[in-house]
């Protein structure tokens, strides 16, 4: 988090059609902090100032999806034009975010290996992992799944070479400078470092998930 900063120039986005019923605004092709902040800021701006004909807005790691209904007569050119106007005044200086505290049990099968690979004792790794808050970078890979980041350079580790066929809901995953939390059972190639009782998916709720892109998470060791 950058406190009291002036609005920063955002990476120049590209607007790309995604099929005939959606377009994507991309702030980059690889994950950077700046591109991610821009994607979240654009999604928030589109929430505040909806574009006519756009039926769904979904931020991802470095891009924002706008879905529209071509059969209703919406034209790609009109949406792109309105989007350019919105982008010209977009800044990421005042994101609306919610802060959360997430208790984690550092009991994952890969905790020792991850700590060793980073040259730390596991207690050191846990302390470093929890040392500063992370931002929810993106949601939506699977129900309730969240990517959080970005960790400092000394905590960056590639994914595992082998995929675990299934990890349970509430698994805390770690790779590529990020911590992720699962809300459903899934296969993963990420390191499993812990577990949490924080459940981010409830299909019976009016909104099925609690965390949104841009939210700030502080991790602490579960009592």
């Amino acid at each position: 988090m950058v406190a009291l900063s002036a609005p920063q120039a955002l990476p120049t986005p590209t607007i790309v059609p995604l099929g005939d019923s959606a377009l994507l605004v991309r702030f980059g092709s690889t994950l950077t902090d700046q591109a991610n902040r821009a994607a979240i800021a654009l999604a928030l701006a589109l929430d505040r100032s909806p574009i006519a004909g756009v039926v769904e807005v979904v931020p991802s790691l470095v891009s924002v999806l706008l879905r529209y209904e071509p059969a209703a007569g919406t034209s790609l050119g009109t949406i792109a034009g309105e989007l350019r106007l919105l982008l010209s005044v977009l800044d990421d200086s005042a994101p609306v975010t919610t802060s959360w505290v997430i208790p984690i049990r550092f009991d994952g099968p890969d905790l020792e290996a991850v700590s060793a690979a980073l040259g730390m004792a596991s207690s050191q790794f846990v302390a470093a992992h929890n040392a500063r808050p992370l931002r929810v970078l993106a949601t939506g890979f699977a129900p309730g799944f969240v990517y959080c980041g970005l960790h400092a350079d000394e905590l960056v580790l590639p994914r595992r070479t082998e995929v675990r066929p299934a990890v349970p809901p509430g698994s805390v995953l770690f790779a590529a400078g990020q911590t992720a939390i699962t809300a459903t059972a899934m296969p993963t190639g990420w390191h499993v470092i812990g577990s949490t009782d924080f459940a981010n998916f409830d299909p019976s709720g009016e909104l099925p998930t609690r965390l949104n892109a841009g939210d700030v998470l502080t991790f602490e060791v579960a009592p």
């Binding site: 790309v16 059609p17 995604l18 099929g19 005939d20 019923s21 959606a22 994507l24 991309r26 980059g28 092709s29 690889t30 994950l31 591109a35 039926v55 769904e56 979904v58 931020p59 991802s60 790691l61 470095v62 891009s63 999806l65 879905r67 071509p70 059969a71 034209s75 790609l76 993106a138 949601t139 939506g140 890979f141 699977a142 129900p143 309730g144 799944f145 809300a183 459903t184 998916f201 299909p203 019976s204 909104l207 099925p208 998930t209 949104n212 892109a213």
Partner: protein
């Protein structure tokens, strides 16, 4: 209007669908909905417009009306349908009374068929829809495929019958039209050209999430895996896996993905593509987004 039907025979991909669960992508849930929307809509018109319906595959379907009575409409690919052993016209409609058995077996073409009724599928919606999501395991009955012994209640009315042309997608020949995809610029011009000239074959590995293609001309054999940040996926996206296998992502697609996507099947051709059986040759022809929109609008008239 009310009735209860009991499933006597169902294959693993048989599911309850409605037009889909939209607006949930940021929560990690793709829309689902019928693999052949036009077939689903036609079955609804023929049946009387009750909400929701049953999607089945070439493995067929059999159910008994254990109580009540209803009108049933059926459409989609080509199937044979019998009421108490007597063949009915397909696509078509009929009346069902208590004890009647409807039995469906595959016909000459297509992967998916639909039965719909003049009453709605009486199942509590999950996040606004009764559509079964095979990926998120939501909707329908416990988020799963139908199986023998399942009982489905029908209740409420339908929207009535309006005229609609009984489209026969088998007659629409020609390549599947696509718009260039999100990562088309990462494929060389010569590779993009080969993509439009090559013949692919629908493989036996297909389900509601995706259809793998056989690339016997090895167009993508040397396509190197690229490291990309995950972006949103839409139905029809053609993704090239790390081993060069092209896969067309369908209604239960994963919401985001990091594999490169060369093209996206246009909405007007996605139903037709979904109905191509394993072993069918398929070619892709690029069109502009504007052309894809014109195709959609011409369908509505």
């Amino acid at each position: 209007m009310s009735a209860v039907l009991a499933i006597l025979r169902a294959a693993p991909l048989t599911s309850i669908q409605d037009r889909g669960r939209f607006g949930m992508l940021q929560h990690g849930i793709s829309a689902s909905g019928p693999m052949d929307k036009a077939g689903y809509d036609l079955a609804g018109v023929l049946g009387g417009g009750g909400h929701g319906g049953i999607e089945f595959t070439t493995a067929g379907l059999e159910f008994k009306l254990s109580s009540g009575q209803c009108r049933v409409g059926f459409a989609g690919g080509d199937f044979q349908i019998r009421r108490n052993g007597t063949l009915l016209d397909w696509p078509g409609s009929g009346q069902l009374g208590e004890g009647d058995v409807l039995s469906i077996t595959p016909g000459r073409w297509g992967n998916y068929g639909y039965v719909r009724f003049d009453a709605g599928i009486d199942i509590a919606p999950v996040l606004g829809s009764v559509a079964t999501s095979s990926r998120a395991r939501l909707g329908g009955i416990e988020g799963r495929s139908l199986r023998v012994g399942d009982v489905i209640a029908l209740s409420g009315g339908g929207d009535g019958i309006t005229a609609i042309s009984q489209r026969r997608p088998e007659l629409e020949a020609g390549p599947i039209r696509v718009t260039w995809g999100l990562h088309a610029d990462l494929f060389s011009p010569s590779l993009r050209q080969r993509f439009t000239e090559a013949g692919f074959v629908v493989s036996a590995s297909l389900d509601r999430m995706g259809v793998r293609l056989t690339d016997s001309e090895r167009v993508f054999a040397d396509a190197t895996i690229l490291s990309l940040a995950s972006d949103a996926i839409v139905p029809g996206d053609i993704q090239i896996l790390g081993d060069g296998t092209p896969i067309v992502l369908m209604r239960d697609h994963q919401p985001t993905g990091g594999y490169p996507r060369i093209a996206t099947v246009v909405s007007a051709d996605l139903d037709r593509f979904a109905q191509l059986r394993p072993g069918t040759a398929v070619a892709f022809a690029p069109v502009t987004v504007e052309h894809a929109h014109a195709l959609l609008r011409s369908r509505q008239t």
